[in-house]
């Protein structure tokens, strides 16, 4: 198995792992914020997709990458707010509304791309460019470290900064305290004067924005165009990372990083004799086992530690 170890330790793999983890990290934090606010955001997938499509289209037609990224994130934020409104104003089931929003994003993006470009597959005919990468002068020339860290996309750096940001937000700010209180027991939060709805709207907007950033990375960083249904289930995997991480920022960080690393590994191992499809099932199987163990432990203790929102 020396070749397997070679792959894991190679700088190409490590750099790929950071790149592949980026959308998982951002979307998972989006899912975490929503979950702790008491509304499950299963629409992460759709928010990413909508942001990816909007970003590529706006950047392509306006010629401004920044404007594209900004409009992509805005659309995803609005979808987050729409989910909150459906839940809070119209009494919708958050899961089913989320499925509806995912469908809406899938249909609307494909329709928009076909109508504007006459292309079924995506926006590869449109020159939309990518967000800038960050060169690290000095570190660049260090053998392995330079290859791994330098030249990563701006959003990859943002994704890794999201973990301390969300941890700070949750545990060091009034808003974070309110958010957690609202998610755990809305009635109690309301009784001490926390504006429950406003906090939930804000949480879902932030959740959508993070998912939007993940989506923008896919179409304007990972590659430079939008492909139909290009999120390919990443939003759902991110949601699993939220639970696998025990609904805590650093736990979610590790889980999302694990999913990213496993996917990168599966791609790298494609050169060896191991079937990549089977390697890529490992993180999901691990999640399933972890989910069962977590539930079993909680059951033995009798009470839940963190109540999973509205599930």
């Amino acid at each position: 198995m020396s070749s397997g170890f070679d792959v894991v330790l190679s700088s190409a793999f490590l750099a790929a792992a950071l790149r592949v983890s980026t959308p998982y990290l951002l979307a998972a934090f989006g899912g975490l914020v929503a979950e702790r606010a008491g509304i499950s955001n299963i629409a992460l997938e759709g928010q990413m997709l909508a942001a990816a499509c909007t970003g590529a289209l706006v950047a392509g037609y306006s010629g401004s990458v920044a404007l594209g990224a900004l409009s992509g994130i805005t659309v995803a934020t609005l979808l987050g707010l729409l989910l909150a409104a459906l839940r809070l104003e119209l009494g919708a089931d958050a899961i089913i509304a989320g499925i509806g929003l995912n469908l809406l994003a899938s249909g609307a993006t494909a329709y928009a791309v076909y109508t504007l470009l006459g292309d079924k597959g995506g926006t590869s005919g449109l020159d939309s460019g990518t967000l800038p990468t960050v060169p690290l002068p000095g570190i660049e020339s260090i053998p392995v470290l330079g290859d791994v860290l330098s030249g990563q996309n701006l959003i990859t750096w943002l994704a890794f900064l999201t973990a301390p940001f969300v941890a700070w937000l949750f545990y060091r700010t009034t808003f974070g305290f309110h958010l957690r209180a609202v998610g755990e027991m809305p009635d109690a939060a309301a009784s001490v004067g926390i504006p429950v709805r406003r906090v939930q709207y804000a949480g879902l907007a932030l959740s959508g924005a993070l998912a939007g950033l993940a989506g923008v990375f896919l179409s304007m960083g990972y590659v430079s165009f939008f492909v139909r249904d290009m999120t390919a289930g990443r939003g759902f995997i991110a949601l699993a990372a939220v639970f696998l991480g025990g609904l805590r920022p650093w736990g979610v960080f590790l889980a999302a990083l694990g999913f990213g690393a496993a996917e990168a590994l599966a791609v790298q191992l494609g050169t060896l004799d191991v079937p990549p499809q089977l390697v890529s099932t490992i993180p999901y199987a691990m999640t399933l086992v972890a989910l069962a163990l977590y539930a079993w432990r909680r059951k033995r203790r009798g009470v839940g530690q963190v109540a999973p929102a509205s599930l």
Binding site: L104, G107, L239, Y284, A292, A295
Partner: protein
């Protein structure tokens, strides 16, 4: 035994209330569909296309030629089975998103039996179907028992199983089950005896790939309706979904009911996989189900999880899907607009406050009317 006047009065009132509820439900469903179609119409208009021509193709296209009817019925069979498979756990208030894993497990089981196991004529059709149902049921049992016994979140469990099974399926179709000596990624064909008879053979007109799976689907729907409304297990599942605390208090073993709802749903999704293998494609192909598994959820929702209504909703949905393809061929409006229409339906259906608001308003109006009458 004669009932008193008060009793007959009460019963009449009760029946009237139920009838009113049903009428409101039906008109709400109809209104939902019409509203969603209107949204689609406006979107087409807003993107500078001709919505009238597009909707004409969408709504009349599928019936214009017999093979188009066949295409519709074949799609409706799979979609309705998937809708049924979701409706049963939904009845127990379990959000099972695992239809995809159950379908692929069923497809694999049906294909392995139908390709490699030599069987006498009738058994050659039935045994793969049973194998598929069993494989689907097993795939439903995993998240079901995790939820029922441990309280593990069924949404995450089913999503993970989907991710695993789809990849294993992809591996098997690309590797061990690939037709030897072929460059294309297919399995071998199933044995001729295992094929579900095409409806073309029955009616003598070309009906595409539609097959006796349609009849099987209708029977399944009827059986599930009987199960839910007329058997103790169905009662337990319904009570669990209505109020699990109350069900537990009344002596129902809620975990068992939850487990069964997953197993039954899984078996039906497995049958959908068998229908694709033995009826539609005749072999395993990559990405067999497409997005059908999630659209099954939409069908179940629209039908409010009533098995008989699921059939109607499934037929309606597939009609839109078939019409969307024709619309795209005949006009320059993309078939994706159908997905948008579907999404609007889901969002309207789940906005529960809407019908309740309407029902309350009707009730209030009627109460006011009665007061006036009493005076």
């Amino acid at each position: 035994m004669t009932s008193t006047l008060v009793e007959t009065e009460d019963r009449r009132e009760y029946r009237a209330t139920r009838r009113r509820g049903l009428a409101v439900d039906l008109s709400m469903t109809l209104a939902t569909v019409l509203a969603a179609l209107a949204v689609g119409f406006l979107v087409i208009l807003a993107t500078g296309k001709d919505p009238v021509a597009a909707y004409e193709a969408l709504l009349t296209g599928p019936l214009e030629r017999s093979f188009r009817v066949g295409r519709w019925l074949e799609d409706a069979t799979t979609l309705t089975l998937l809708g049924l498979s979701v409706a049963i756990p939904f009845r127990a208030r379990q959000i099972s998103l695992g239809a995809e894993s159950q379908l692929y497990a069923g497809a694999l089981a049906a294909a392995v039996v139908a390709i490699f196991l030599p069987l006498p004529p009738v058994a050659a059709v039935i045994v793969p179907l049973v194998a598929a149902a069993a494989a689907g049921a097993g795939m439903g049992f995993v998240p079901g028992s995790m939820k029922a016994r441990l309280g593990a979140n069924e949404i995450v469990a089913t999503l993970m199983l989907n991710a695993i099974v789809v990849r294993v399926y992809d591996y098997l179709v690309n590797g061990p089950l690939k037709e030897p000596g072929s460059s294309a990624v297919y399995s071998e064909r199933v044995q001729p005896d295992s094929v579900l008879t095409p409806l073309t053979d029955w009616f003598g007109i070309p009906l595409g790939r539609s097959n006796v799976g349609l009849v099987l689907m209708l029977l399944t729907a009827a059986a599930l309706w009987l199960l839910i409304t007329r058997t103790p297990l169905g009662y337990r599942i319904r009570m669990t979904g209505a109020n699990s605390d109350f069900a537990e208090y009344g002596g129902i073993r809620v975990p068992r009911a939850i487990e069964w709802s997953f197993v039954i749903g899984g078996a039906v999704a497995g049958l959908a996989g068998a229908h694709l293998v033995q009826g539609v494609y005749g072999r395993l192909e990559p990405g067999l189900a497409g997005s059908l598994a999630f659209e099954g959820i939409v069908v179940a929702l629209l039908a409010r999880n009533n098995p008989l209504v699921v059939v109607i909703a499934g037929l309606f949905y597939s009609y839109l899907r078939a019409g969307g393809d024709i619309m795209e061929q005949q006009t320059d409006v993309g078939t994706e607009i159908v997905v948008v229409i579907q999404a609007v339906i889901v969002l309207l259906v789940t906005a529960q406050a809407l019908p309740d608001l309407l029902k309350r308003r009707i009730a209030r109006k009627q109460a006011a009317h009665k007061q006036v009458g009493a005076r």
